[in-house]
Amino acid sequence: MSQWSPASFFRCNEPVQIHITAADGVAIYLQIVNQIKYLVASGRLTPGEELPPIRVLAERLLVNPNTVARAYRELESAGIVEKRRTAGTYVSDQGSPLARRERVKILTQRIDALLAEARQMDIELSDVVKIIDERHSAMQATRNEE
């Protein structure tokens, strides 16, 4: 399958990337939804920041504008973004319980995947928790050094 180069749109000189691929059967609108969710959750899209207009994003990603519209609708109903009348779509304030629920959901999915892999590799839960602790301490240490 051909892979299209990542679309980047520049806001305040900060490239934010969405990468669409038709390769694995996941619906395109879902890919957009998931990636924007992740960008918001990881802080690369800040609350109050404007998302590109549907038309512009569609042209950058080379997908149908309706697909982008559907993605925006899903994000809106999930509370990640909000539509301000005729002024565009903006990332909503992350303090709302809806937004936090979304973030927890993303993390839960990651943890599920982690646990499934651990089971396959025959590593016990107690070991997994130990490793998490170790890695967390290591990360704290490097952050303190900076």
Binding site: M1, D24, L62
Partner: protein
């Protein structure tokens, strides 16, 4: 599934039971197709399935031997000005007058289309990096496709018809073409009809899709419908089986022993219940790419 375009306006292209034979060969067999106004309509099929023949009927290059063809409500054979004057067409062979220069081509085409936007045409020419003085016969393949695309787009046609627009072109030109398609329908009420066998492109931009195979329309659906009703389900049975059991709506299946993978069309819930009824557990459930859907549909 909700149609994103529940429009009350008449379809922009309507074919009713069109049949076409070339000697002994039936190129189109009772083909009925309805392209609604607005949106991108993808016509997909293998080589020789009948895509170009169908498109030629829409342009009035072929007369329907039986059935009827209506574009904008008019017969394209009887009324070439009323139909072709509102259509932008890029042919599969990129037929352009070889002796003309690009600038002459633009001015010549302008005379035929009252809606020609000179400024927009200039923008396109610059964006496509076409030299106005270059002769068409000296253009590379990609440049030729861009020139044809310019001539088709600059008058902002209500209907953009593209026959295999990406065939034989490098990815850069393909991006231009897809971009043009998207910009076209972003404008209210304009429609794009394109045929392609590069299904990953169709998947990205099409709203509706019709699969044509051996001159017959196998199915017409919105892209959402299509993707939601075709799934790859992997079932694990209680014991090893020699032959896979038949599951309703199966298009194809593969596997061995106790694990079998089905490609089926149908509602997700239905499949689950059917599987459970047979005492199998669902271990995998994934969507299919348009490519896989097409192949499984066509190679039954």
């Amino acid at each position: 599934m909700q149609d994103p375009f529940p429009s009350s306006t008449p379809p922009i292209v309507e074919l009713r039971r069109v049949t076409r034979q070339f000697g002994n060969k039936t190129a189109l067999d009772e083909v009925s197709l309805s392209v609604p106004r607005g949106g991108v309509f993808g016509l997909i099929g293998g080589n020789g399935a009948g895509k170009t023949t169908l498109i030629k009927h829409i342009l009035g290059l072929l007369k329907a031997q039986s059935g009827s063809v209506r574009v904008f409500g008019l017969d394209p054979v009887e009324n070439p000005v009323g139909t072709l004057g509102r259509i932008g067409y890029l042919s599969e062979d990129r037929d352009l007058p070889n002796w003309m220069r690009v600038g002459e081509l633009m001015r010549y085409t302008q005379a035929f289309f009252p809606n020609w936007d000179v400024a927009y045409a200039e923008d396109l020419r610059e964006a496509f990096d076409l030299d106005g003085n270059a002769k068409v016969k000296h253009l590379s393949r990609g440049q030729r496709a861009r020139a044809g695309l310019l001539a088709a787009l600059a008058h902002r046609p209500e209907l953009l018809v593209l026959d295999e627009p990406s065939s034989g072109l490098d990815p850069v030109v393909r991006r231009d073409i897809l971009g043009a398609i998207i910009r076209t329908i972003a404008d209210e009420g304009r429609t794009v009809l394109f045929s392609s066998h590069l299904l990953d492109e169709v998947e990205r931009v099409a709203d509706r899709v019709a699969i044509i195979h051996q001159g017959r329309i196998m199915l017409t659906a919105t892209m959402d419908e299509l993707k939601e009703t075709h799934r790859r389900v992997t079932l694990r049975f209680g014991q090893a089986l020699d032959r896979p059991p038949s599951l309703v709506g199966t298009l194809s299946c593969a596997g061995q022993g106790a694990e079998w993978t089905f490609i089926c069309s149908g509602e997700g819930e239905q499949l689950r219940r059917a599987a459970e009824a047979m005492g199998a557990t669902v271990v995998g459930d994934a969507g299919l790419t348009l490519d896989e859907i097409f192949v499984s549909r066509v190679t039954r």
